[in-house]
């Protein structure tokens, strides 16, 4: 049973589907990434999960064990968190905690804990209006954790940050995922690969690829040979079309990219091919495609 599950989740704005029939199932105890290019519908999807907007159609169900308003079990950090600048960092966290149902005392001790976790202990008495972007992001994470949510939803948590801030937040997320399930959106596969177990790739509001990250990586890791010859290679390429080790090929004048089923067989066959040798091989490279290639292919254009 997923922690949160959607069926046919759809959001329509002015006749176009920003999110188009998405079925998600977020597992408990797992870090999940919602991947996709800008405008794919990531934020809209997250907003529906948090209840900030209503789905046009489709359903969202939260784990039966957690009764009532699902906002009680969700911590959320928007892409651009906006605070009451007149409050101090500490006041904001306590305010958030009280809204989430903690007593003032609980909120106070929890805020101490969280502010030191995100490294804001020294600045907690300062007004939020004076915080830097990175500090606001960390304060945002602290407020999202105040009620020890079952599911932490982060919208592009690192995209607005500089490399150092990015590293800090990613490290923080690694610590957090020990204690709580995380769902975050990003347009950078690398961020997802670094901390996630599960990914969902969406494009134009539709779910394209989903599953366990390691499995997907394996699945899309296809052995590939890049060949470059002095003479044109097109004519020769027809001779290998029927080989059982071939999966796919892509020919361009003097270059050929061969994706293969069995690397050893392919290598043996190609290197002993007399007619290929006559074309004068310039380079022969063995490599593997990655999820990155797939992601670029899927999200590109």
């Amino acid at each position: 049973m997923g922690l949160i599950k959607t069926v046919g989740l759809t959001k329509t704005y002015n006749g176009t589907n920003a999110v188009d029939g998405i079925d998600l199932s977020i597992k408990e105890g797992v870090c999940t990434a919602l991947l996709g290019p800008n405008g794919a519908g990531k934020t809209t999807t997250l907003n529906m999960l948090t209840g900030l907007i209503n789905a046009t159609s489709g359903t969202i169900s939260f784990d039966d064990r957690y009764m009532g308003d699902r906002r009680k079990y969700i911590g959320y950090l928007p892409q651009y968190p906006k605070f009451y600048g007149w409050m101090t960092g500490e006041e904001y966290i306590i305010f958030s905690g009280q809204l989430a149902g903690l007593t003032k005392k609980e909120a106070l001790s929890r805020s101490d804990e969280l502010l030191s976790l995100v490294g804001l202990s020294e600045d907690k008495k300062k007004r939020v209006s004076g915080y830097s972007g990175g500090m606001k992001q960390r304060l945002g994470i602290a407020q999202s954790l105040i009620h020890s949510p079952k599911l932490l939803i982060l919208d592009e948590p690192v995209s607005a940050l500089d490399p150092i801030g990015r590293r800090e937040v990613l490290e923080l997320m690694k610590t957090l995922k020990e204690k709580t399930s995380i769902l975050f959106s990003t347009h950078v596969l690398h961020d997802a690969e670094e901390i996630c177990e599960e990914i969902f790739i969406i494009k134009k509001g539709k779910l394209i690829i989903e599953g366990d990250l390691v499995e997907l990586q394996r699945k899309y890791q296809k052995p590939t040979i890049y060949l470059n010859t002095e003479e044109p290679i097109e004519d020769w390429s027809t001779t290998i079309k029927q080989k059982e080790w071939l999966r796919h090929m892509d020919v361009k004048k003097n270059k050929i990219t061969v994706t293969v089923e069995d690397m050893d067989m392919a290598r043996e066959a190609l290197l002993t091919d007399e007619s290929l040798r006559k074309l004068k091989i310039n380079s022969f490279e063995v490599a593997k495609t990655t999820l990155e290639d797939l992601f670029m292919e899927v999200t590109g254009k």
Binding site: Y84, G85, W86, R127, V128, S129
Partner: protein, 70 residues
């Protein structure tokens, strides 16, 4: 001359003074906020001038239009 003096004495200064006091307090509060808060619509020094020199309504104009919220 004597008449005017008499009339000036009959004016209830104890009742008029609070007007000056209240507008002075308003001015001080607006000044303090303008400096401390620091975010204004338009240049800050213009608002300082408005607060100090536009009698009575200067501070109010500042709070309504000059102060940029956070």
């Amino acid at each position: 001359m004597e008449e005017i003096l008499n009339e000036l004495q009959s004016v209830r200064w104890d009742l008029l003074a609070p007007i000056a006091i209240v507008s002075f307090v308003l001015m001080i509060v607006a000044m303090v906020d303008c400096f401390k808060h620091g975010k204004t619509n338009g240049p800050q020094w213009v608002w300082i001038l408005v607060i100090v020199f536009v009698n009575l309504i200067g501070p109010i104009l500042y709070f309504i239009f000059g102060r940029r919220s956070e």
